[in-house]
Amino acid sequence: MIRLIGVELLKLRTTRLTYGLLATAATLTGAFAVIEAARAGSGGGPAPLSTASGLNDVITAGIWALVLATVMGVTISSGEFRHGTATLTYLATPHRGRVLTAKAVAGACAGAVFGLAGYIVALGVGLSFVAARGYHVAIGDATLVRYAIGHIVGTALLAAIGVGVGSLVRSQLAGVIGVFAWTIVIESILGGLFTSIRPYLPYTAASTLSGTSPGGSAFGPAHGLAGPSPLPFAAAAALLAGLAIVFCVVAARTTVARDVT
C-alpha cells in the first residue's frame, strides 16, 4: 500500500495541473487576504487588525486552499478516466479498491500541502499588515498553530472527499464544476437559509477547523451571517473523514467496479 501511495504521489508530482492548482490556491488566497487586510478597520469593512476578529478575517482567505485542494482531489481520480490511463493503472493493480484507497491517501497528503501553503500565505499577509500598522498580534501563538493544524487537516480531508467524488462522477469537468458549485453556491444558500445545519456542511466544517466562523467562509449574502457555533475540532474532523470514507466506499462498490474499455 505504501508503494501504491508513493506511485500516486509521483503521478501528482509529474503533472503540471497539480502545480497550477497549487499556484492558483496560493494566488487567490494572497489576493483575498490583501483585500481583507486593506479593508480591515475601515467603515463597513472587517474589524481592525489590532483585534483577533480582524486578523482572523484575513486568515480566512485560506479557504481558497480548501476549494482548490478539493478540485485537486477530484482530478486525481477522474483524470484516470479523462485520459484513459485507468487501463494501465488497473493492469498494474487489479484490486481497484486498493488503487482508490491509495489515491485518497495521496490526495490527503497533497491536500495538506495546499493547506500549509494557503495558511502560510494568508497568515503572512495578515502578520505583514499587523506589523506595518504597528499593532500587536491579537491572536496567541498557540491558537495560530492550532488554526494551522486545522487548516491542514481540513484541506487534507476535503481533498480525500474530492477523490471519492471524482471516482463517483468519473467526468473531470462535471466533478470540478460540482466542487465550485457546492462550495461557493450551494453551501452558501443552504447555510444562509438553514443556519442550524450550517456547521455540518462539509466545506463550512472544514473552514471552521482553522478558526473561521461558520458564516466566514460563505459567499454572497450569507457571508458573515451570524450562525450557530462551529462543531468542536474533533467532531468536524470526524465528519469530514466519515464523508471521505462514505464517498470512497460507495464509489468502490459502484463506478469503480465497472468495466474499463
Partner: protein, 194 residues
C-alpha cells in the same frame, strides 16, 4: 476479459491457470499494449515510465534500456501529448517491456507505425519470442500477421472458429492467411444463420 478489465457475462479467463486479478506482481507476468492513447498527455515519456517502474517494481535503470529499445531516447523528456500515434505505440511497448514480462498481449501493435516501424516491430516480436517470451497479438492486418506468427486463433463474432499453427492453416504457405480466414469465417456463418 483476460486482463480483468471487463467482466464476462459467463465463463472465466485465466493466465497460467489463475485469473489476472489473483496474479501476484502481474506486470512481471503479463505486459499489455491495448490502447495507443492511454497516457497522461501532460507527463513526459520518462516520467510516465518512472511511474510504471515504481508500480511494477522494475529497476529504474530499465527506463533508459526500454527507451533505447523502442528508439524514443531522444523524445524521453517531451510531453506525451505531442507524440504521434507511432510514438505512442512505441511508448506502449516500452511500458509493457519495462517489467520484463513472460507474456506480451498486444492489440493492433502495428497501428500508426511507418513501414520501417512495422519491420522493426516484427523483428522485435520475433526476437522476444526467440528469447522465450510468449507474444499474443490481436490484429485485423492478416498479411502482416502472417509474416510474424507461429500459431493462429481465429475469432469471428465472439466465437472461436479455429486454432492451429500458421503452417497448417495456410497449407504450408500455398494458401494466404487472408483467404484461409475468409473461407473459414464464411463457412461458419453459413452453419449458424445470424
Amino acid at each position: 476479459m483476460l486482463l480483468g478489465l471487463v467482466r464476462p457475462d459467463a465463463g472465466t479467463a485465466t493466465i497460467n491457470g489463475r485469473p489476472y486479478r489473483d496474479t501476484e506482481e502481474p506486470l512481471h507476468k503479463v505486459g499489455a499494449v491495448l490502447e495507443a492513447s492511454s497516457f497522461h498527455p501532460g507527463r513526459t515519456a520518462r516520467n510516465h515510465l518512472r511511474v510504471q517502474a515504481m508500480v511494477g517494481q522494475a529497476d529504474p535503470s530499465r527506463i533508459d534500456d526500454v527507451l533505447d529499445l523502442v528508439e524514443l531516447t531522444g523524445a524521453a523528456d517531451r510531453r506525451i501529448g505531442g507524440f504521434s500515434l507511432g510514438m505512442r505505440q512505441r511508448l506502449g511497448l516500452a511500458t509493457a517491456l519495462l517489467t520484463d514480462p513472460e507474456l506480451l498481449i498486444l492489440d493492433e501493435p502495428a497501428n500508426g507505425l511507418d513501414p520501417e516501424g512495422v519491420r522493426w516491430l516484427r523483428d522485435l516480436l520475433r526476437g522476444l519470442a526467440a528469447d522465450g517470451a510468449t507474444v499474443l497479438v490481436s490484429s485485423h492486418m492478416l498479411a502482416e500477421v502472417a509474416q510474424t506468427v507461429d500459431a493462429v486463433v481465429i475469432l469471428d463474432h465472439g466465437r472461436l472458429i479455429t486454432q492451429s499453427s500458421l503452417a497448417e492453416l495456410t497449407a504450408g504457405g500455398t494458401v494466404g492467411l487472408e483467404e484461409a480466414f475468409l473461407g473459414l469465417t464464411r463457412d461458419s456463418r453459413q452453419e449458424v444463420p445470424r
